[in-house]
């Protein structure tokens, strides 16, 4: 049994099935992060000082130190988004070699992001700024943590297309290109979330 418009675009709607599916999924993701961001707004406006002062004082001095790391991470993620598009374009131009290079670079960027994040986390936890320290720290860990999980999820899918999933190219190149387009859309979204997280958690304090 063949599902129609699995690969081909349906004329009156202008999309193939999974492209519509990923946009709907991203809409739900917008609502998820919308819920998270609204919590940030509500807790922040309710707090007498921001970031709140807890048992170990304020996180402010530590935050100033980590701004360069976070800025570096922002650049890394944007770069990964660019290479993601390039990977897709390479497939469109039927160049599998280039595709591997660009997708590999995207994966490396994602890994670099997570490593920097790891050092950031451990530094904060080491200084006593754990999630339960105050509501800023709670938001910081929850929001960046969920974002990190999204990165890891994306890496698993990208890793699959870099490894065993690439076999589809031999028989169904068009379908494989679609898959890369879709995972690319997700990847840009995860990138975009960071573009919002970076200012609200690091800069606007």
């Amino acid at each position: 049994m063949e599902i129609p418009y699995n690969v081909q675009v349906r004329e009156d709607t202008g999309v193939y099935n999974s492209k519509l599916g990923i946009w709907l999924f991203l809409a739900s993701e917008v609502m998820l992060f919308g819920g998270l961001f609204s919590a940030y707004i509500l807790l922040r406006t309710g707090a007498p000082v921001w970031p709140p002062i807890g048992e170990h004082g304020s996180i402010m001095h530590l935050l100033k130190e980590t701004i360069p790391h976070a800025t570096f991470n922002t650049v890394v993620l944007i770069a990964s988004s660019v290479t993601m598009v390039m990977a897709w374009v390479s497939l469109k131009m039927k160049d599998l070699g280039k595709f591997r290079i660009y997708l590999g670079t995207t994966l490396i960027c994602a890994l670099v992001f997570l490593i920097v994040k790891y050092f950031e986390y451990s530094h904060k936890i080491h200084e006593g700024f754990v999630p339960s320290h105050d509501t800023y720290m709670a938001l910081y860990f929850t929001l960046t943590g969920l974002h990190g999980l999204h990165i890891i999820g994306g890496m698993i899918v990208l890793g699959y297309f870099f490894g065993p999933g690439i076999k589809m190219w031999d028989n169904e190149p068009e379908r494989f290109t679609n898959r890369i387009e879709i995972v690319g859309l997700y990847w840009h979204f995860v990138d975009l979330v960071w573009i919002f997280l970076f200012p609200i958690l690091y800069l606007l304090n």
């Binding site: 063949e2 129609p4 819920g35 919590a39 509501t135 860990f141």
Partner: protein, 581 residues
Amino acid sequence: MSDSHHEESFWRKYIFSTDHKTIGIQYGITALLFLFFGFSLMMVMRWQLAFPDQAVPVFGGLIQWLAELNGFASIGNLPSDLYNVFGAMHGTIMIFLGVVPLVVGAFGNYVVPLQIGAPDMAFPKLNMTSYWVYFIGGVIMLVSFFLPGGAANSGWTSYPPLSVIATTGQTFWLLGMVFLITSSLLGSINIIVTIIQLRAPGLTWMRLPFFVWAQFVTSFLLVLAFPPLEAAGFFQLMDRVFDTSFFLPSGLVVGGEALDVSGGGSPLLWQHLFWFLAHPEVYVLILPGMGVIAEVIANNTRKPIWGYKSLVYSVVFLGFMSFIVWAHHMFMTGMGQGMSIFFQTTTMIISVPSVIILSCFMLSLWGGSIRFNTPMLFALGWIPMFGIGGLTGLPLGLSTPDIHLHDTYYVIGHFHYVVAPGTIFAIMAGIYYWFPKMTGKMLDETLGKIHFFFSFIFMNGIFWPMLIQGMAGVSRRLADGGESYAHAQGTLHLNEFMSYSAWLLAVAQIPFIINLIRTLLRKKDAEPDPNPWQATTIEWTDTTSPPMGHGNFEKVPTVHRGPYEYSVPGDSSDFTPQTQN
């Protein structure tokens, strides 16, 4: 469809099937079992309300075993701690594991692809995944009953701070919810893509059966409203596991001791995020039901549904509005008058499309030659029941009368009229209506009518007295049904009446169960009628012997007309199928 002749192994065919029809039936059976389980919890609670602190008959031993396993003292009665558990889990199970999986998972899955002439859902593997994710969520919820302290006990709304300091059951509740939410998301994305992409040639938007429209709007509600609750669920999980203070205000004192947390959080934040889902959720429960009712009414009045376009525009408008009424659940939280005024205005506005839909259904009856078969009886019973549910909601949607009625039995009566008969009558109508499509066999009419009339009587016997008790001021969630409260004494005698009604409602389901089993065991006719209701929509136009094989239609149907062309003047029969040229 070469694949349909291919022999599939037992596991592929019945357990890990990617056929939307099998998955729909899987959803249906699982959800009906959960529905029965949730109802059973309530039957035990009703014993406690009618005869406080007396040992439960027959099941006393089981209750005592469970209570002692959870660490509560019991002599076979339902201790108040366990009463709280049962209350919270009754709501959770009925909504998230019973009704939504039935109306969206079962009916949406089974009927939508057939009504739009599609070979399957757009993403069959994803469809299978959503069922199994739902199943895991259900298992987590069930397992939590055996934890020390029992399952979640902070109400289905899980309001903090109570839920944050509650026993481990609450953590399981949150984990289970994450699975159920994920399942709903995957399922509803699938339904939307299927409806947009896989409509048969000629099936334009205004030719879609109303049921498909209802599923379409419902799926959008699920996609957009569930994620904020997921966010809230993560926060509460953080509060419980990592001692954060998202929902815990500063200076919180529990049991005479200050809680050792940083504070600075807001319990209201949870309520906002929760009701942002839970209000649209009400429409998730009711809209597919309305869709079923529209199909059944059009078919059994033998005339086009009255005001098809008004119905479609109303249901879409209802979908939009349902996102901006949520805080009418929170008038009593002290969130401020401005907020109350805004939300009571939007609440009054949202009642307009609901009334339009109900009016269209009633006007559809006018001048029809009505066939009083079982699906139609359930549909006709649905109209006043949903009407009562809707109208009793108006005083709650206005902030002033809500001061008196908030958190009383009136609220329970109101929303049960909407979601108990409102959805369950529609589900029953749907089961009787589509059963011949699923099996090729008609359910027995006599047993069906017995099932309907007794269900109708006892549903009212349970919920009508609640409205009276509530207006007298009896609070909900009292483990003794108000026995120890002076102002509740005048209406206390109603408790026994309601409880007997609830148990008799269970008895009234026996003819239904017998009917199901007897019909399933019966041998299929040599050539079952593929269109026993003489219906017009696409799922009935396929002439092969039901049920259809994997891949559905032999030939892709082409659609030439709207969904409800009954009694077209000049036509030889009183129904003109959508596929007829």
